[in-house]
Symmetry: none
Subunit: 410 residues, 2 copies
């Protein structure tokens, strides 16, 4: 049988100023409710565990069935994998920003004026990055959107526990990185060398000369954070014996899924914002399942963006867009042979604008699900759902309904 | 106070062709329902965890309160303990089959025509098994039902991670075993020696000469699988400070309980099938409690057999037999001083015919239980039960209601 796991990022919330209802209650979601009422069961999901406030990366690991306390090494590796860098167990990765250093050598802007042009040329120039002290370490830099990018250091003896060179502060010099152990000390040394070298390369770069002429902040440094050694996850295929694809726009979600061995399928118009063409994602999901994949993981990001923007109307509106997409999926999937799970990866109340530990509403629907009495899908109705309250592991749960989960023991 | 834990193997399921109800809903279970309504509370139990598809061995460990990720080493040790072999921490055990090797040296039948006579003589002949390369390793073989048996290798330096000599395939030679580490390499070498030696001993055995005359497949080899080093579980008595017995027919369940230190009490007519005399098991349970035991674990196997046979009527009928037995227990136990838990060790839908990760209905009844509103015991009603959804640990939960559980911390 086929399996789809749909994560609507940050979909759970708390009562808002909109008549005291959550955004999920405010939104009109006939398709989701119908799917739940006719074929599903709901519940409340602690993405990692009750009392744990999840990050997006740790939450996704946990939903996929990987214990984040065992496997999580840091965000950098997922960002790097998410922007298409191919990684091995010898990589230590960082998220980076292009930043602006002033004439006193202090950080003037952590995002180089949200640079939007010329990053390809800067990336090209940074191809020569290399530590003189540790020339055997392979250094790779890749830009992403705006000021964002990733740095990967590859060597057999590199530790992942190093402090960031991005202090999240202005008016101070770039701090030296240090490592928590001997192998990480080596990584920190390479990072410090590379950070200095990048300043030299970037300071003289024509793109920055041009930016200064135009009164734009130069991108004359890179700041690194989120240090992470590549985590040796058993892949989804090794663990669950299924083939899988990821359909997402945000680098982090693509990255977690790629590190778990899912094949990334890019989608036209998918932007990771409220304006994303999520219908195209649904079409790609059907395409992947019909093309032979056992499992597709689909990530919708917009609800979380609206939450971070403290905008309940935008969040409710985006949820209605998700509902339309579920409606399209219902018409275009073989529902007798498909199980679908639908949930958030964490709650993101619009008032607070960030992740909280409140459990998220979750549902699983399909022919093998024992249906409960729920008719509507929201934070309150799911309190009484047949799935009860449970922690993580939404993916293996859904695979088991599809009769596609390997047994533990005999 | 006294405690009984009754596991009806594979009792949970999914809707069937019988009016869209589960077998537990189809079955008439007045005694179980009455016990739940008058003295109990119900819930949904993930035998190991949500999203984990349990084996029988791992599920029982988890229900007893042992983390199978910490303690599970493989099935062989439980099969060996279950057929009465006494084990120590130096044992590595395998499940075995008598098998038939053809004149080309290939496996012709993995069960030697389901041999049903002469196994005692073959077992006797295999007493001389011994590795010439590692004569210090003690080799023990014991037959069980039909073609089944167990092989135990005892030595201080033997690892448990070795590949099986049973390829689950026909038409190929017996594969050589190999070990995943140095100590397991030694085990594999002994296993390979013993496997070759068993072929020599069995090929010339009069029982097999007789079988060939009668056109029966000879039992001229043993195939081994389920390699497991003895797991160092703290015993039930060490962990919970109670004395305990196991009443079961299947070797695996007896074995898990014996390795956990329960005393096995054989019961006349207990077969581990739908025809088993489970009333005799109930009588033995009462006998054990009256004789001074604090805890009795009772295992009923038939519902799982009917599930594997894809037979919903047989499953429902067997559940009614379990219900009768619960009725007898209710009349013959001192209910003011006894807590009973009743659950499956996993769900086994008859359509699928194997274990799935769906949670199982579970109940605990007795004077100290906070009763809920449930009147019927099945997969649906238990969704709303007072025990909620919980993972493993049914035994220590029940012991605590009996005020017999040691405290963790001070």
């Amino acid at each position: 049988m086929k399996t789809i796991m749909i994560i609507a990022d940050g979909i759970g919330g708390r009562p808002t100023d909109l008549d005291g209802e959550t955004c999920l209650q405010v939104a009109d979601t006939p398709e989701i409710n119908d799917l739940l009422a006719r074929r599903g069961a709901g519940g409340l999901l602690d993405p990692i565990n009750n009392g744990v406030r999840p990050g997006s990366d740790t939450a996704h690991l946990s939903l996929f069935g990987y214990d984040p306390y065992e496997y999580y090494t840091g965000r950098g590796v997922f960002e790097a994998a998410g922007i298409g860098m191919d990684l091995t167990e010898n990589d230590v990765c960082f998220r980076t920003n292009f930043a602006t250093i002033d004439s006193d050598g202090n950080i003037a802007d952590r995002r180089a004026g949200r640079i939007s042009e010329g990053q390809d040329e800067l990336e090209k120039a940074l191809e020569e990055l290399r530590s003189e002290r540790f020339p055997e370490v392979e250094v790779r830099f890749k830009r992403s959107t705006e000021h964002r990018g990733a740095l990967c250091l590859r060597g057999p003896e590199l530790g992942g526990n190093v402090s960031p060179t991005d202090p999240h502060e202005l008016g101070i010099p770039i701090p030296e990185s240090s490592g928590q152990d001997e192998k990480s000390e080596k990584t920190a040394s390479v990072l410090n060398d590379v950070t200095r070298q990048a300043r030299e390369i970037l300071s003289d770069h024509p793109i920055n000369e041009q930016r200064e002429k135009e009164d734009k902040l130069p991108a004359n440094a890179i700041l690194s954070r989120g240090s992470a050694k590549y985590p040796n996850l058993p892949s989804i295929e090794e663990r669950y014996e299924v083939t899988s694809s990821v359909i997402a726009a945000g680098a982090l979600y693509i990255g977690v899924a790629r590190v778990a061995g899912m094949e990334f399928k890019p989608v036209e118009g998918a932007t990771g914002t409220v304006d994303s063409n999520i219908l195209n994602k649904a079409k790609m999901a059907v395409n992947e399942l019909e093309g032979g994949k056992d499992l597709v993981f689909v990530h919708f990001k917009g609800a979380d963006n609206a939450s971070h923007d403290h905008d309940p109307e935008a969040k409710a509106k985006y949820i209605e867009k998700v509902d339309d997409t579920i409606g399209w999926l219902k018409k275009n999937l073989d529902w007798e042979k498909t199980h679908i799970s639908f949930a958030g990866d964490h709650s993101s109340p619009v008032q607070y604008g960030d992740h909280v530990a409140d459990p998220v509403p979750a549902m699983i629907a399909g022919p093998n699900v024992r249906r409960d009495q729920l008719k509507t899908f929201d934070e309150y109705s799911c309190m009484g759902g047949g799935l009860g309250r449970f922690s993580g592991n939404l993916l293996p749960m859904t695979l088991s309904y599809s009769n596609e989960l390997p047994k533990f023991g005999a």
